[in-house]
């Protein structure tokens, strides 16, 4: 079973829930897909070890052959190539590695070379393997790393994915092709607004989902009324507990610091299992 933990707003507790849920169930693995800011590893003692580089094929131009016809530049949808008279400029960071320029070049002046955009690392612990990706600094597009990370699922019967925040392509990539999606929010106007955006996205994708309200008590009950109106299952409420915040700041999973929460995460998992069936 594959479960993604996501949220529109950042900092609502995705990582907290993903890590603690994964720690509370047996036979699970954890995959942190927030390649722009992976944080799950902070809750494990073992250092992350590099598994592989992730690269995309980008063009190399043989300027001895190039006739500066500009077809590659006209074709590129990402504005990564510019040809002006007898000058060709390539902006590698804009390239999505589609390979179109190589196909369209009439004189075969373009070949391809792998361009490394990030890495995949492994860590966690004996009972809970953790994988995460890191997008290199200055690289704009993390989706190819997320795609590779998602392919690592299956080593254990249960896979928990920690999603990047937002509703754009990296989040969508993480929310699709899973059995269930947990949307984490907080009971504030920002939390509610961004939850609605996430609900729009997840309904379009079609993944079954439910909501967890984190820091319950800091705001009001508008999130709950919204879920009720929209027929969205409210999976759990996590109280606004300074002890949880303290443990988080130190990188200690809440189920290890406050063992009674383990029961809550097990119940959460059973609830989700029931909903998936």
């Amino acid at each position: 079973m594959k479960i993604t933990v996501a949220s529109g707003k950042g900092g609502t507790g995705k990582t907290t829930i993903a890590v603690n849920l994964a720690l509370s169930v047996e036979d699970a693995m954890l995959i942190d897909c927030d390649v722009e800011g992976p944080n799950s590893h902070i809750f494990f003692k073992e250092p992350m070890v590099k598994l592989k580089d992730v690269s995309i094929p980008t063009p190399r131009f043989d300027l001895d052959i190039c006739t500066y016809c500009g077809k590659c530049s006209d074709f590129c949808q990402y504005n990564a190539i510019s040809v002006v008279q007898d000058k060709l400029l390539f902006f590698e960071e804009l390239c999505h590695g589609c390979g179109g320029c190589r196909i369209i070049c009439p004189v075969n002046a373009i070949s391809e070379e792998e361009h490394i955009i990030g890495t995949i690392e492994k860590g966690g612990e004996e009972e809970l393997p953790l994988y995460h990706g890191r997008l290199n600094i200055g690289e704009p597009f993390g989706v190819p790393i997320i795609r590779e990370l998602k392919g690592l699922a299956g080593e254990r019967p249960i896979t928990i994915f920690d999603s990047p925040p937002g509703t754009a392509c990296p989040a969508v990539e993480t929310m699709r092709d899973v059995d269930f999606c947990i949307l984490v929010t907080e009971p504030t106007p920002f939390g509610l607004h961004d939850l609605k955006l996430s609900v729009d996205v997840i309904r379009e994708i079609g993944t079954p989902f439910g909501v967890i309200v984190n820091r319950d008590g800091i705001g009001d009950d508008r999130v709950e009324s919204y879920c009720e109106r929209e027929n969205i299952p409210l999976l759990a409420r996590i109280p606004n507990d300074l002890e949880i915040a303290r443990l988080y700041s130190e990188g200690i999973p809440m189920v290890k610091g406050i063992p009674r929460y383990e029961e809550m995460f097990r119940e959460l998992f059973e609830r989700i299992r029931g909903l998936v069936r």
Binding site: Q77, P140, F141, F190, I205
Partner: protein, 291 residues
Amino acid sequence: MIRELTIISGKGGCGKTTIASSFASLARNHVIVDADVDAADMHILLQPEIRRKEVFHGLNIARKNDDLCINCGKCYENCRYGAFDPDNTLHPEKCEGCAVCELVCPVNAIRMVERTAGEAYISDTRFGPLVHARLHAGEEATGKLVALVRERAREVAEEKGKDLIIIDGPPGTGCTVIASLTGVHLVLVIIEPTLSGIHDAERVLDVADHFHIPAVACINKFDINLENTRKIEDFCRERGVEIVGRIPYDETATRAMMSERTVVEFSDGALSGKLREIWEKVEERLKGIGG
């Protein structure tokens, strides 16, 4: 000269919008930009009146005419984003708009068509013009939309004689963050004293360095973990990043958000005083940056 300031944090939920909106209510001659286009929240506090709306197209998307398709498999073979199944069925939601399928299709069964990916708005608020956007569910080209709102903000600033653009940035380090900070005059990084807050702030400071943007930092909720606050102070010193303020944990921030107002408007208390102090330092620093 128009100066641009971007507020970022790497990790989400560190207080970017709370701080940016307070700056918006303290600055005098400015345009506000919400660059967190896929989870924009600034408008909740500023209640904008939309004056101009424009459609954002983003990248084109593949459309296939199955009546013309001869099942040659070229689209499937050449698409690098998995948008085609081996039986040549197209999954538009996986299309990244590269147009390779259209290029290789021998019978013109595939065409790239324009799509509406979102909307950009120029609005009036009680604190001056706000340029913001809404990305449609699950769309791509988010960085392009950020570039668009920044361009509109510069136009508004020129038109109305504003000398400052305050940009509330998105989380992360990818395309939207890069589009939010390339070419700005100063980046303010909000750091929360948690291990993840520190980890992500260091990454975002690396991004600022990569694009040669000067950065200053502010520690938010500094008193929730004093040891981590010291760590932040240490690495900022090592990197030569000035800390323009330390904000204590204060529930006024949440109460102001619940009442849908900025902190500075909502209360005259200690938190507002602190934010005012930080704003003055940032303003001073911005004034010192030449053209």
